[in-house]
Symmetry: C2
Subunit: 106 residues, 2 copies
């Protein structure tokens, strides 16, 4: 039987997992990940991988599923940071006069 605590736990797991989706979408949309911390998503990804191992050892399916999805999303953000997070972000609001990296706003 599903207790109130179980329901809160499932809601909590769902929210802390799906929350990464809008961050992925924002980076893809703006093509900018300058303000994203490598260290945050790096350490977080290792931590989530450990949670996944913990869930596998305990054979705890909800822990395994939630952390597998979160790991994919967190690593996706790391890949996007690598792609779009260079130190000089491309201009986003208009063209500049040549001191930028050559990419212009469309």
């Amino acid at each position: 039987m599903l207790t109130a605590a179980d329901a809160i736990g499932f809601a909590a797991a769902t929210m802390t997992t799906v929350s990464f989706v809008p961050q992925v979408l924002r980076i893809v949309r703006t093509r900018s990940a300058h303000d994203i911390s490598w260290w945050m998503f790096g350490i977080f990804s290792v931590g989530v991988a450990l949670w996944l191992g913990y869930g596998l050892i305990l054979d705890a399916l909800p822990v395994v599923l939630a952390n597998a999805v979160t790991l994919v999303l967190a690593v996706t953000i790391l890949v996007l940071k690598w792609r779009y997070g260079r130190d000089l972000p491309p201009p986003r609001y208009g063209a500049a006069q040549g001191t930028d990296d050559g990419r212009k706003a469309r």
Copy 2:
């Protein structure tokens, strides 16, 4: 007695909690949170608050402690996003002539 699974769980909880510290520090240092998603940290914060409630109901101290710290850090990032994440980020590299967003290579 501490099992291997316990040790992995503690390491996982520590890493997914402290990972937020470098993101806080990065925003404070660069004074920019443009690329941070409101939705990510908003949904994540609600989820962590639910985890905190779950831990309180079950009287699970590690769950309570880890999520209390994470909640403070995630809400701090939301406050910093409000402070530094406006659509036009403040100039960081020097004054510009008006058509770009004010950021120049140093």
